[in-house]
């Protein structure tokens, strides 16, 4: 469906706005911080508004019962030849998630991190432009370009604040991603060589009609492309760069990076279901086992990593892996009910990991460096402090926990519940949705599904143990250092992210209905492909996108 109105141009705003504002900011001196702050805040706020509008647009059902797929032909060329931007339910959802994370991490960084190095605001907005572009594009090569935009910005942001740890992490992060980009290009080139198209919808149309030689080559290309995205999504064994990099990046950036792995997951979800979904003929389900078992290996690796982590930052890094592993395994089940649960889980886990990264910095502030390592070592070897504790007991009765610590502790408990998937928060709903879909599958539950169920339960438990241990050691211990000073502008984003998770819990029903419809649309992509290629349902000639009545190009 091509809408002819000004509202149509809303689709390109999430890419253009941050790109233009980010570039314009380069013209101003670094000392005009107030101006840059204001500009970025306005940009991010408008991005959020636009994303919500697009979400509302994508969620409306057409009069003929079809889901809305907004197609924006760039340069007004018809779809398989020109490049299109596409907003459907999934991309709109990801846009909102990006905007929410962008707004909260930017707000947090305004407290002090944005002063830690040059060009923070430009890089941050370029990252948002790249992310939005990757979610919006309907073209494989354009996807590569937006990936490079977001990666280039992320290279700069990982190094933001400088320091040996960050440079060392960057020295691993950047080559790994450059190699992934090479694989991306090889995959795209093979797919283009076989099918002669780069348009995702056109690809979905062509896949069932490939002959056997072409299919082998196409699947090779898709597999190479898949590896590139799995590196980004952090599937085991392609994920060793991730915890170190995330732990090295400064807090707001690490929090923003919570969505970077989800870009890889998003592309896999989209391309896998488009090219190898239910309508792909002989290619249907290609690679599903790899995603399924790879995802489970990632969950297991992440779970062990969570238990073994001595610092909270690494714990959060491994939680990222658990989250991507869970979603990848869910995609591998090729069951739309499981995928809809996974989408819900994607949103809530991204929000909670992001909040956790922000929270860690506040908790760590004012603690001795290396206190975590010391705490875990003491736990392992039995600590010699039991005598002191008894002596101190009477003195400490009635000593209130400082308000700041209580606040941070409350947020920590919420994060624990979210990450471990405990009731009453939304992490639980996501997990239950996936588990119940796995259990209610027609026929008896296969062994491999039992394995996934067990793994999800066990990692939830592992996360709970690790978080509880860390929480007791950091929040309940008599504090050696000073009580951290937390500014409202730092607490507000964490509160907002957690409040969103609570909202998702309360509005669980409508949210799950949205996810169900999204998964349906993903799983049966003819509607998506038909809308993009402009092929009318009756099989008439493809519609050329006509000029707007106002004479706009």
């Amino acid at each position: 469906m091509v809408v002819h109105s000004l509202a149509e141009h809303l689709v390109i705003v999430p890419i253009l706005l941050p790109l233009v504002v980010g570039a314009a900011m380069l013209l101003f001196d670094e000392r005009r911080r107030q101006l840059k702050m204001t500009l970025s805040l306005i940009t991010v706020a408008s991005l959020l508004a636009v994303a919500v509008l697009l979400l509302i647009g994508a969620a409306t059902i057409q009069s003929d019962g079809d889901a809305t797929v907004m197609v924006y032909p760039l340069g007004n060329w018809p779809a398989p030849f020109g490049i299109v931007l596409v907003v459907d339910r999934l991309s709109a959802l990801m846009l909102v998630l990006t905007a929410v994370l962008g707004a909260s991490t930017l707000l947090y960084s305004l407290a002090r991190w944005h002063k830690a190095g040059p060009r923070f605001h430009t890089l941050f907005l370029l990252l948002l432009a790249g992310l939005n572009g990757a979610f919006l594009t309907g073209d494989l090569f354009n996807l590569f370009v937006f990936f490079e935009v977001l990666l280039a910005a992320s290279y700069g942001l990982v190094l933001h604040g400088s320091g040996t740890a960050r440079v060392k992490a960057g020295l691993h992060y950047i080559p790994v991603n450059l190699v992934a980009s090479s694989l991306f290009l090889i995959g795209v080139a093979i797919i283009y060589g076989v099918t002669g198209t780069l348009n995702m919808a056109d690809l979905a149309r062509l896949v069932p009609s490939l002959n056997i030689d072409e299919r082998a080559l196409f699947e090779t290309g898709a597999a190479i492309l898949g590896v590139a995205f799995l590196i980004k999504a952090g599937m085991w064994p392609l994920c060793f760069w991730l915890p170190t990099t995330y732990a090295a990046a400064c807090a707001p950036i690490a929090a923003m990076f919570a969505i970077m792995t989800k870009v890889g997951v998003y592309v896999i979800l989209r391309l896998f279901l488009l090219c190898f979904g239910g309508e792909a003929g002989n290619s249907a389900g290609f690679g599903a086992d790899w995603l399924y078992y790879g995802g489970m290996a990632t969950i297991a690796f992440g779970g062990i990593g969570v238990l073994a982590s001595q610092s909270m930052l690494r714990l959060a890094g491994y939680s990222v892996l658990v989250s991507s592993g869970t979603i990848l395994a869910a995609i591998g089940t090729t069951n739309s009910a499981v995928i809809s649960g996974a989408l819900f889980y994607l949103i809530t886990s991204t929000l909670s990991i992001s909040a956790f990264f922000l929270l860690i910095e506040l908790i760590e502030r004012g603690r001795d460096a290396g206190a975590d390592v010391l705490a875990v070592t003491m736990e392992a070897y039995g600590d010699g402090e039991s005598d002191d504790e008894e002596d101190d007991d009477e003195g400490e009765v009635g000593v209130a926990i400082p308000a700041t610590i209580a606040l941070l502790g409350g947020a920590f408990v919420a994060c624990t519940a979210l990450l471990a998937g405990l009731p009453p928060l939304s992490g639980f709903i996501g997990k239950v949705a996936m588990l119940s879909a796995l259990i209610n599958e027609a026929g008896s539950i296969s062994f491999s599904h039992w394995l996934l169920i067990a793994l999800m339960m066990l990692t939830g438990f592992a996360t709970l143990i690790a978080m509880t241990r860390t929480g007791i050691r950091t929040l309940w211990m008599p504090r050696e250092g000073t009580i951290p000073r937390v500014r409202a502008v730092e607490a507000a984003p964490i509160g907002a992210l957690l409040a969103l998770c609570v909202t998702l819990t309360v509005l669980g029903g409508p949210a799950m209905r949205y996810m169900d419809a999204t998964a349906q649309l993903l799983y049966w992509p003819q509607e998506y492909a038909r809308d993009i290629l402009g092929i009318a349902p009756a099989g008439t000639v493809p519609l050329r996108p006509t000029l707007g009545t106002e004479g706009k190009p």
Binding site: T164, A189, Y192
Partner: protein
């Protein structure tokens, strides 16, 4: 011609991967560059090899696609070259920063 191109891509990719796995940052960056040359040639070859065929219409109007080279891979290669060049430059800066901060050119930031 196909043979020459295939061997060329193979040599570039092979040496690129070997250098990429070496412990010195300079070797890594050269490896990345060679790998990107291989990838660029590969994309180019995916438009099928043709001699003396321009990727544009010589006379305005409808031309015969059989006498033309596929313009899309050429456009893709151009983009990939630009992006690859920018990324190499960026990595070079990081490499120098790492050399300055850690005092070694080992990729792990310390001699092992």
């Amino acid at each position: 011609m196909e043979m020459v191109l295939a061997i060329g891509i193979g040599v570039f990719a092979g040496s690129g991967v070997w250098l990429l796995l070496r412990p010195r940052t300079y070797q890594v960056i050269i490896g990345l560059s060679l790998l990107s040359y291989a990838v660029n040639l590969f994309i180019f070859s995916m438009g099928r090899l043709k001699i003396g065929a321009p990727p544009i219409l010589s006379v305005p109007g409808v031309g015969d696609p059989a006498t033309m080279a596929d313009p899309t891979p050429q456009a893709l290669v151009l983009t990939a070259i630009v992006i690859g060049f920018a990324m190499t430059a960026l990595f070079l800066v990081l490499l120098l920063a790492a050399r300055g901060l850690t005092g070694t050119d080992h990729v792990n930031g310390r001699e092992d």
